[in-house]
């Protein structure tokens, strides 16, 4: 009885009598339009790219890749602070090229499926498309989110590098010089994010099975990278009369237009080397991660647009053609 009294006391609103059941409440307030809904989806996806709102397991890969990516910036700051070096030991525009390639390879292969493959697997897409957003909004929102996620992984360490450096240099001119060097570095990071997010997402949405999606991304990025590295080295070694298995490639290279041209062109195979080639073509001075594009800079520029255009086109198409409601 006493308990009843307490319960009832809790239900009595001031001056309004006893509330039994407020029943169904309609919502007559404002509703967000299509673009704000897409923005909400983007934000939700960006969080999931780093495992926020998921369990601890979902945070392992993003955290580890981010920490590894920050390591050079920290090491640079420590070296400069200890006075071992008075100049920056890491470049803004390439950062540590090979490290960046492999960290991004792991991050994209692990996290791109998180954004698109899960929704395919759980067949939640019909619920999205039965809501105000249009078909094109979904891949657009996911792409925007993943560009930001990749940008965070690439450019936050660059910013850390900058902060660590300016704390050790003296004088306004020195800080300004660092700042001027920083901006191209950030823009290169943006370029990487824009292209790699598109390539990663389109490969990740091949399947609702996460393992397959991760495999597709990892295999594509790793194989093209390996191919580019190996072929460029063979071409650079440049002896068409060599023997063994590598010779076949070498001979074809030689007949295709000279060793020097080929060693510049093999960089077109991998998105990573295409990005680095464009950086060098646009005036980047740091040494390239595999090869320099030589006089073929514009070809790298075109290839970059091809990678981006084909990926985005295929990504949008995927959500028009094959994913149906019910």
């Amino acid at each position: 009885m006493a308990a009843d009294g307490v319960a009832n006391a809790g239900l009595i609103a001031p001056g309004a009598g006893v509330i039994h059941d407020i029943g169904y409440q309609t919502y007559d307030g404002p509703r967000l339009g299509r673009w704000k809904i897409a923005a909400a989806l983007s934000w939700h996806s960006l969080r999931s790219a780093f495992g926020f709102g998921r369990g601890a397991k979902a945070k392992i890969v993003p955290v580890i890749t981010f920490v590894i990516m920050c390591a050079p910036a920290v090491i640079n700051a420590v070296i400069m602070a200890l006075g071992r070096s008075h100049v920056r030991v890491v470049d803004y525009d390439t950062y540590v090229g090979t490290l960046r390639v492999f960290v991004l390879l792991v991050f994209i292969a692990a996290q791109a499926p998180e954004l698109v493959s899960r929704d395919l697997r759980s067949r939640v897409l019909p619920l999205y498309f039965a809501r105000p957003m249009r078909r094109v909004d979904y891949p657009t929102a996911k792409y925007a989110a993943f560009v930001l996620a990749c940008l965070a992984i690439i450019d936050i360490p660059v910013l850390l590098l900058y902060i660590g450096t300016i704390m050790q240099v003296h004088g306004g001119a020195a800080v300004w010089a660092q700042t001027r060097a920083l901006f191209p570095g950030l823009l290169v990071g943006l370029m990487w994010a824009v292209v790699l997010a598109a390539v990663g997402l389109v490969l990740a949405c091949v399947s609702g099975r996460r393992a397959y999606s991760t495999g597709a991304v990892a295999i594509f990025l790793f194989m093209t990278w390996t191919l580019t590295t190996v072929l460029t080295k063979i071409a650079a070694a440049g002896s068409p009369s060599g023997t063994g298995s590598g010779a076949g490639v070498g001979v074809r290279v030689a007949s295709a237009g000279g060793v020097s041209g080929a060693e510049h062109l093999f960089g077109l195979i991998s998105p990573f080397t295409v990005l680095d080639g464009v950086r060098q073509w646009l005036g980047g001075t740091s040494p390239g991660i595999v090869a320099d594009p030589g006089r073929y800079g514009p070809v790298y520029g075109v290839m970059l647009l091809v990678f981006l255009g084909v990926s985005l086109g295929a990504l949008v198409r995927r959500y028009y053609s094959r994913v149906s409601i019910a």
């Binding site: 029943g23 169904y24 409440q25 309609t26 919502y27 007559d28 307030g29 404002p30 509703r31 967000l32 339009g33 299509r34 704000k36 809904i37 923005a39 909400a40 989806l41 939700h44 709102g53 998921r54 369990g55 899960r118 929704d119 697997r121 759980s122 067949r123 939640v124 019909p126 619920l127 999205y128 498309f129 039965a130 809501r131 105000p132 957003m133 249009r134 409601i325 019910a326």
Partner: protein, 350 residues
């Protein structure tokens, strides 16, 4: 993020939905390629309240729902939902409509609260409202205590409730529920049907609930639409529908053919096989006629059972009405009327 009124910012209550049909289609046809016609010259109107959409698998129910959501354009004809043409106002219609698909559509590794909140956001609710409405929706479907558990740990019945809650979260004026009782045990079915009934009556939301089992939806519907092969078979109020679908099953140990002939002579139009005959019950007289026929032939009667039509039988009757010579004699001996005529009466009568 602040909620600014967009073009969707007006209050959603549409006065016209009370008088105008919630759903209306006119000669609606949808083809896939040259050979497949999923919806064929479908003309119907659905008033407010709970409407059952019955049809066998492949009858065109899902295609109809896609067209109503503005996700598929009609090949010809028109469809309107809540007074809005689906061809031009898909976005607005989808704001005002909640959809519960037939298939599984829930991610296992998020909680029901997170999922329904997110889906509320996708319906255009501001963040705080989405959270409040998610909690409310889950409470309405009876999942308040368990709402912080991962959906992967839920039973089938609970998952169905989450699917319903996400459709309810955006405060729809119309709910499209595709086979909501699929995969549920009898108790779960009853609970789900009761919930839908409550949504349709107490919450004041119009509901279209599709099913391949007439016996299931007839308990809760005000109005019933039967489609098959993309064509409208019947559209009528529930009372006229069930009246028409009462049948009497007669089993005799021998002489089925003789009995069939005798019943035909008496104008009962029996259908059936070598084991049993079905006649439509048009009143008390039907029982007397059957009794007299069996007694007159001196056949050993083993069973007489009154039952409702299964949907398949309903379709068969309607097929006969469509194609057969006895077009004038509808089941139950009621004046046949076109489906449209019956419907107009039904909508006006509400």
């Amino acid at each position: 993020m602040t909620a600014e009124p967009s073009d969707d910012g007006q209050p959603l209550a549409t006065d016209q939905s009370q008088s105008a049909p919630v759903i209306a289609t006119k000669a609606l046809t949808r083809r896939f390629g040259p050979s497949i016609t999923a919806l064929d010259d479908l003309t119907m109107a659905v008033g407010s309240g709970i409407t059952g959409l019955v049809g066998a698998n492949g009858a065109g129910k899902s295609t109809l729902i896609k067209v109503l959501l503005g996700l598929l354009l009609p090949s010809s004809g028109t469809a309107s939902v809540l007074g809005l043409d689906t061809a031009g106002h898909g976005e607005r219609i989808r704001t005002l409509t909640g959809y519960m698909p037939e298939h599984d559509c829930l991610p296992p590794d998020v909680t029901a609260t997170e999922f329904v909140t997110h889906m509320g956001r996708m319906s255009g609710l501001p963040p705080t409202t989405a959270r409040e409405r998610a909690a409310e929706s889950l409470r309405h479907v009876g999942l308040y205590e368990e709402r912080y558990r991962h959906i992967g740990t839920y039973s089938t019945g609970m998952k169905q409730r989450v699917k319903l809650a996400q459709a309810l979260a955006g405060d729809p004026r119309l709910l499209l529920l595709d086979e909501p009782t699929n995969g549920l045990d009898p108790a779960g079915r009853a609970a789900m049907l009761e919930l839908i009934s409550r949504i349709g009556t107490e919450f004041g939301i119009s509901v279209v609930v599709s099913s391949h089992l007439l016996g299931e939806v007839e308990q809760i519907c005000d109005h019933l639409i039967a489609i098959d092969g993309g064509r409208l078979l019947r559209s009528a109020t529930m009372s006229s529908f069930t009246q028409a679908s009462q049948v009497l099953a007669i089993e005799v140990d021998e002489g089925v053919d003789l009995l069939a002939a005798e019943l035909s002579r008496r104008g009962l139009n029996p259908v059936g096989n070598e084991r049993e005959l079905l006649v439509v019950i048009s009143g008390e007289g039907t029982f007397d006629q059957v009794r007299d026929a069996v007694a007159g032939l001196g056949l050993p009667l083993s069973r007489m059972e009154q039952r409702r039509h299964r949907v398949e039988e309903l379709f068969r009757d309607a097929e006969e009405r469509f194609s057969g010579s006895n077009r004038g004699a509808g089941p139950g001996g009621r004046p046949p009327g076109t489906p449209r005529d019956e419907l107009t009466g039904a909508v006006d009568g509400r």
